[in-house]
Symmetry: C2
Subunit: 383 residues, 2 copies
C-alpha cells in the first residue's frame, strides 16, 4: 500500500549542503564506538543506539523491510536528500516546514492527514527524522494516529540527541504556550548518530549545549567533564551524548510521567528559560536554557540554597557556552509568564529547580513579586 | 483561579426538560443499589460508581472541593441546567455542540482553548458530563492538555454507561474516519447513574442497546439475561449496566491497549457497523452495531463458525432490539470501507469478530470480494 513518493521531497537546492551530509554515505565503521542504551519505562521498553554507525545499524535492525512513514523538516530533507532517497526511497516521506513556529496544530494535522492518505496503520513505523521540533510533533502524531503507531526517533540536532528524543515527551505549542498540548509516548528506538551533527550551524550547537549544561548542573560526572574542558567543540560535545542519554534515561525510568517528583529536575533553568522565551522569543530554546540556568543559579545563591563556590563554577560553565549574555529590557513583566508554566499548576508561587551542590539540585518556590524582583536585579547586574 | 462562569451556559429553553431531569434533585437513597467496580489497568486504577446515587456519592467522594473543568454538550447542558448550576456552579463549564458530527478537531481545540483560558493545570479534574461524544472528545482533551489532567467521566447515555465511558479509549473522527485520531487515557472515576437515562429519547436507548447486544454475544451471563427477557425497557436495561461494565473492565484490565489480542473482541459486529456508518451515516452508532451484529452473525453461520441454533438466538435478540432492519442500497461498495478499519491494518483482508457459541467468539478474516458478496446477499435476503 506504500509507494515511493519522491515528488513529496522539496528538491530545491537539495545539494547545497551535500558535502558534509555526505559523511553519512561513507562506509560506516560499524559499532566502533556505538553503544546501545536500554530504557525500561512502564509503558514500553526502548533502545537508544548511540555513536557513529548508529544510523546504519539501527536502520538494519529496526527499520529495514518495515512499512515506514518518515516525518522530517524542510532543512533536513534538503541536507539529507540523498540519504533519504537511499534509505527511505520506498517510504512515504512527509516534509514539514522547519522551525519552532511550526510546532503547532496545523503541522500536526498535516502529518495526520498524510498518514490517512498514505493509509498508515498501527504497525506502520513513524520515523521522526530531524531536530526536537520534528521529534515532538512527529512523535505526537505517532501517539495519536489510531491511538498509537510504532515510533522511531532519529534525532539530527545536538539538542534532540542529548535531550528531546529520549523520554517520550511529545507536544505542540498552542495559544502561545510551549508544549501545552501533548502526550507521553515512548519511541521504540532512538538512533543517535553524531555524523548528523556535522551539518549543524553553530547556533544549533549552542542550543544543545544548553541542555548539556543543565544536565551538568544535575549530574556530577557530566559537571566534572564540563568543568575540566577548555573549549566546547563538537568532537568534545559528541562524547557527552551517551552520558546525557544515560542520565535522562535513568530519570525517565523512575518517573516516566512526572508524577513521582523526580522528572521535574529536568526543568532546571527552564522556568526562567520559558518565561523569557515567551516574551523575547528570538533566540533558540537552548540559549534561553543557558540564560535560565544562570539566572536561577544566582537566585539559588541569593536564597542561600547554593554555595557561592559551586554557583560560580556553574556560572563559569554557562559563560563558556554563552560568552555574551543577552539583554532583556523590561524583564519584570516577563516574570509573570512563569505562572503559566506547567510546573506552577494553579499556584500563585513560582517553582524553580535550581543547582544546590555538585550532583544535587533543590526545588524552591517564590512569590511572584520576589521572583520578578530577582530577575530585575540580575538583569541589572545587581546580583 | 477558577471563577463561576454562569454566562457560559446556553440558557435558551433550559427548563424545557427540567421535569424528568429533576429526579436527580430528589434526595438520593444513597448506595441503595450503588456498587463500586474497580478497574486495575497498567496505566491507572479506576473506579466505576454504578447505580442510583452514583452521581451524588461519586461527587462527594471525588469531585467536591476540587478545581473542576466540566465538558458537556448543548443538550445535556439544557436538560441538566439546574444540576449543573448546583454542583458545578463554581466550576468552568465548557458546552460543546451536541452530536457525532461535532466529534472533531474543531471541538477538541475549542475545549483546549477554554482550558487555556481557564488556566487549567495538571491537577484540574476534567469532568466529561454527557454521552459518548462528550466522553470521547472530553477525555481526549484531558489526555492532551499539559500531557494529561485528571479525568472523571459522568456518562449520561445508555451507550456511554455500558461502553464508552469505561476503558479509556478517547478519540475524534477525522477526514471521514471514525476515531482515527485519539489516545488511551483511563478516567480515575466513572459515575454511572441510571437517573440520567430517564431523559433519553428512545432512539438513544436503542443506541446503547446495540452495545449491550454486542456484549451479550461475548458474555454468557448477559446473553442468558437478554434471551430470557420479553421486552427491553429502560428499567430492565439499567440492571444490565453494572454487568456490562464488569465485563468490559475485565477485558480492559487484561488488554488495555488492544495489543494482547483480547480487547478487539469488543469490536464484534463493529467492522460492518463502521463500514455502513461511513456510507449511510444517518442512524445512531448503536443501530449500526445491531445491524453489524446481525450481518456478522449470518456471515459466521455461512462460514460454519457459528451453529445455526445459536445464530438464530442472537438474531432474535437483535430483532427484538431493532424490529425493522433498515435497507442499504448499494451495500457492496460500502464493504470497501471495512479496509480502513483500524483492525484491518494494512491488509487486503477484512477481519471480523463474530459470535461462535454462548460466551464464545471467533475472529475470521475474509478477502474483500468475499466479504462484499456476503453483505450483498444478506441485504438481499438471500442469507
Ligand atoms: N520532548 C522533549 O523532552 C524535549 C526536550 C527538550 C526540548 N524539546 C523541544 O525541542 C525543540 C528544539 O529542538 P531543536 O533545537 O532540535 O529544534 P529544531 O528541530 O527546530 O532544529 C533546529 C534547526 O536545525 C535544523 N536541523 C536539524 N537537523 C539538522 C542537521 N543535522 N543539520 C543542519 N540543520 C539541522 C532544523 O531544520 C532547524 O532549523 C523545542 O521545540 C523544544 O520544546 C523537547
Ligand atoms: N470510547 C469508547 O470506548 C467508545 C465505545 C463505544 C462508542 N463510543 C463512541 O460514543 C459515541 C456515541 O455515544 P452516544 O450514543 O452517547 O452519543 P452522544 O454523546 O452523541 O449522545 C447521543 C445524544 O443524546 C444526547 N444526550 C446525552 N445525554 C442525554 C440525556 N441524559 N438525556 C437526553 N439526551 C441526552 C446527546 O446530546 C446526543 O444528542 C460515538 O462517537 C462512538 O464512537 C466510544
Ligand atoms: Zn529544554
Ligand atoms: Zn460501538
Amino acid at each position: 500500500m506504500f509507494r515511493a513518493r519522491a515528488e513529496d521531497f522539496r528538491t530545491a537546492g537539495r545539494r547545497s549542503y551535500a558535502r558534509s551530509a555526505g559523511a553519512l554515505r561513507a562506509p560506516a565503521v560499524r559499532g566502533k564506538s556505538m553503544q546501545k542504551i536500554r530504557i525500561h519505562t512502564k509503558s514500553r521498553p526502548g533502545i537508544v543506539y548511540c555513536g557513529e554507525g548508529a544510523f546504519e545499524q539501527g536502520y538494519e535492525e529496526t527499520l529495514a523491510g518495515k512499512e515506514l512513514f518518515v516525518v522530517t523538516d524542510s532543512n533536513v530533507a534538503r541536507l539529507y536528500a540523498d540519504l533519504i532517497e537511499k534509505y527511505f526511497g520506498s517510504a512515504h516521506v512527509c516534509v514539514v516546514p522547519a522551525g519552532e513556529k511550526n510546532k503547532n496544530h496545523k503541522t500536526l494535522f498535516s502529518i495526520l492527514d498524510e498518514m490517512v492518505r498514505a493509509r498508515c496503520h498501527r504497525k506502520t513505523v513513524l520515523v521522526a527524522f530531524g531536530g526536537g521540533v520534528v521529534g515532538d510533533v512527529g512523535g505526537f502524531a505517532a501517539s495519536l494516529y489510531m491511538r498509537g503507531t510504532r515510533l522511531v526517533q532519529i534525532p539530527t540536532t545536538l539538542l534532540a540527541q542529548v535531550d528531546s528524543s529520549v523520554g517520550g515527551k511529545t507536544a505542540i505549542d498552542y495559544r502561545g504556550y510551549k508544549n501545552i498540548v501533548g502526550s507521553f509516548y515512548q519511541p521504540e528506538q532512538v538512533l543517535c548518530d553524531p555524523r548528523f551533527l556535522t551539518t549543524l550551524p553553530k547556533r544549533e550547537i549552542r542550543c544543545g549545549l544548553g541542555e548539556i549544561v543543565k544536565t551538568a548542573a544535575l549530574d556530577a560526572e557530566i559537571f566534572d567533564i564540563l568543568q575540566g574542558a577548555t573549549d566546547f567543540g563538537l568532537r568534545f560535545l559528541e562524547k557527552l551524548v551517551p552520558l546525557c542519554v544515560r542520565f535522562k534515561a535513568g530519570v525517565v525510568e523512575r518517573d516516566e510521567r512526572e508524577t513521582a517528583g523526580l522528572r521535574q529536575c529536568l526543568n532546571l533553568g527552564h522556568t526562567t528559560a520559558h518565561a523569557l522565551e515567551l516574551d523575547y522569543g528570538r533566540r533558540s530554546h537552548g540559549e534561553y536554557v543557558l540564560v535560565g540556568t544562570a539566572f536561577e543559579t544566582k537566585i539559588a545563591l541569593a536564597e542561600g540554597v547554593c554555595k557561592r563556590e559551586y554557583a560560580e563554577r556553574i556560572l563559569k560553565i554557562v559563560s563558556r557556552a554563552l560568552p555574551k549574555m543577552p539583554r532583556f529590557p523590561d524583564i519584570g513583566s516577563a516574570a509573570e509568564n512563569a505562572l503559566l508554566d506547567k510546573k506552577n499548576s494553579g499556584q500563585e508561587k513560582i517553582s524553580l529547580v535550581v543547582p544546590k551542590a555538585r550532583g544535587e539540585y533543590a526545588e524552591i518556590s517564590l512569590p511572584l513579586p520576589t521572583y520578578a524582583e530577582y530577575l530585575k536585579k540580575i538583569e541589572g547586574g545587581l546580583l
